[in-house]
Symmetry: C2
Subunit: 333 residues, 2 copies
DNA sequence: GTAGAAATAGTTAGCGCTAACAATTGCGAT
DNA sequence: ATCGCAATTGTTAGCGCTAACTATTTCTAC
């Protein structure tokens, strides 16, 4: 910066003013400085700026170590939203779904010179050890455990699961099973909850449940378990709500291999509306999650706290509704 | 840091030494300082450290704006590898596949206080405008255009595509079509190239080609085009090499709707080995890409340049082979 | 007991930038 | 021509840290 200043005979402060768009610089000087910057290929040192201002124009995002559809789609939305708002993104991810891992991840990010932290990593259903961390910057969660009072913006998982289940019920299904995500995930728990609620509201019994790990392979295995229960007479069902599309795709194959026609004998509905879901055979009915809206809202709220530090922290939760997408895999009984 | 020093009656430099693991501190002093740090909840200011040392322990990753399997899997691998090596990751992504966008992305990252930059964004097949940027830090590419002399580590796209095509040829297919990725992607071009090479080596003619955009929807549409050509007698084929699994899934549906049995009448092979591919009906033969190896190798080379700045820049390209995964969608003629 | 080396701790300067204030310039009104 | 005010530009200090040096203590060998 001093080089640039020397090169065109002004003070370093004037250069700083030009770079930061300060209006109190004459057009002539500005042009001169700009030319010198260009000529010398000068680039601002962000560390020094951060040290002087205490702001880094960088947000930390704590995500989850996986290539699952949900987390990656969420990350992508956030990143685009952050860039639109002029913020950089530092990425960190947890390997494990637990409060301890999340607290560690937040701490790691908070030493990373960020102005705020967004936690989009899935939360654990284990609420025995509370999440404790000492935030130096605003922290915003996409998902919170019951009883936590952090601000949240998320898809309304429970309501969306109820929507899917109600769709099955409206088609006349009296016996609906569920293939859930891992019990350790809060999201899995909430989707299972929504399924249970919808059945209870309709006065219907809960069908058989099997647990998967979100992968197609696990959905395939879980569906086989359900089929086994059916064959053994332990439990019957004519419809299944699967907690994500990837597992639903695996389940479709398991049903097909068992000679059960979908939707003829079994209706299947998934969750996510992944790109593939419209092209399976049969194509998959599902619930679409609008990650872009959630990402934009999360960022909006976090930046509000970052940019107006004094203002009240929003604790009201904003829940975005899921959207039912009906395709071929569900039909009347 | 001065607070911590005052709190336990040492100099700030001693605190700095403790934090940075300098051995010239007595065990007693170290314990005292550590206790004070803990008590005061002190956290190091990364910006100040970066300013003083000129190093940030942060790498910039330039990715591509999408939720496509390849880019997200690659990003994930890199991020894990970087964390293992003690580096933070700043994420930036291009919206468009072009040299101009990549150069802009690199420049944006290079002002972001990073020690090195990894470009995993797909490259354009348009080589008319060369990629120009002024690196202040080491930059490593996953993919380079012909004639560029930057270091590269990548899956050997051409060889992997040849592998897939040779598999079809070895099953006796004399007429193999191709559903390609967007012509603007270098990767798509190279996969198409591999397909062409394999056919040429076997002395077979090139079957019909249709272009997609990597999505299942586009694969479905492209397959319909091929089917149309078949019906009109314009071109016949008994096998198709599809440039990624997502499009292949769409193609499977298109063939099924047209009453063409896979693999009975048409063999289909994809590329990627996405999680879903083992559970489609029929399950998809494909070529697996080992992103973890590529990610780890990329990081290795970049960090070598970052940490030993004087050393020779590796320009030799390391190409990782794809692995053939044979499932149900391919069979003998 | 003492010299001398080794281990440990403290002091000073400066990384590149911005905030706050001080100094200069330009320009219209008198 | 002179004044006063606004528009510009310059000066100084300091953000929190580490590098390089200097000072002190501790230990060993004689």
């Amino acid at each position: 910066m001093f080089d640039v200043a020397a090169h065109c005979g002004v003070s370093h402060q004037t250069v700083s003013r030009v770079i930061n768009g300060n209006p109190n610089v004459s057009a002539k000087t500005r042009a001169k400085v700009l030319a010198a910057i260009d000529e010398l290929g000068y680039q601002q040192n962000l560390s020094a700026k951060a040290l002087a201002t205490g702001r880094t124009q960088t947000l930390g995002v704590l995500s989850f170590d996986s290539t699952l559809y949900g987390p990656t789609a969420m990350l992508h939305s956030i990143q685009v939203a952050a860039r639109d708002r002029g913020y950089r993104v530092v990425l960190n991810s947890v390997e494990e779904i637990s409060n301890r891992a999340i607290a560690e991840g937040i701490n790691a990010l908070s030493t990373s010179a960020v102005d705020g932290i967004l936690v989009i990593a899935p939360r654990s259903s284990d609420e025995s050890e509370p999440l404790v961390f000492t935030p130096r910057v605003p922290v915003l969660f996409r998902e919170v455990q019951n009883g936590e009072s952090f601000a949240v913006v998320d898809i309304d998982q429970r309501a969306a699961a109820r929507l899917a289940t109600s769709h099955l019920i409206s088609l006349g299904h009296k016996n609906t099973g569920h293939i859930s995500g891992p019990a350790s995930w809060l999201t899995a728990e909430r989707r299972a909850d929504g399924w249970r609620q919808a059945l209870a509201e309709a006065g219907l019994p809960e069908g058989p449940v099997a647990e998967g790990d979100w992968t197609p392979a696990s959905g395939y295995a879980a569906a086989k378990q359900l089929i086994q229960k059916r064959l053994s007479g332990e439990a019957d069902f004519t419809a299944v709500f699967v907690a994500n599309d990837a597992m639903a795709l695996g389940a479709l194959r398991a049903f097909s291999e068992a000679g059960l026609r979908v939707p003829g004998q079994i209706s299947v509905i998934g969750f996510d509306d992944a790109a593939e879901s419209g092209y399976s055979m049969p194509s998959l009915s599902t619930v679409r999650q609008d990650f872009d809206t959630v990402g934009a809202d999360l960022l909006e709220i976090l930046l509000h706290q970052v940019e107006q530090p004094g203002s009240a922290v929003l604790t009201a939760s904003m829940l975005v509704a899921g959207e039912l997408v009906v395709r071929e895999s569900t039909s009347r009984v």
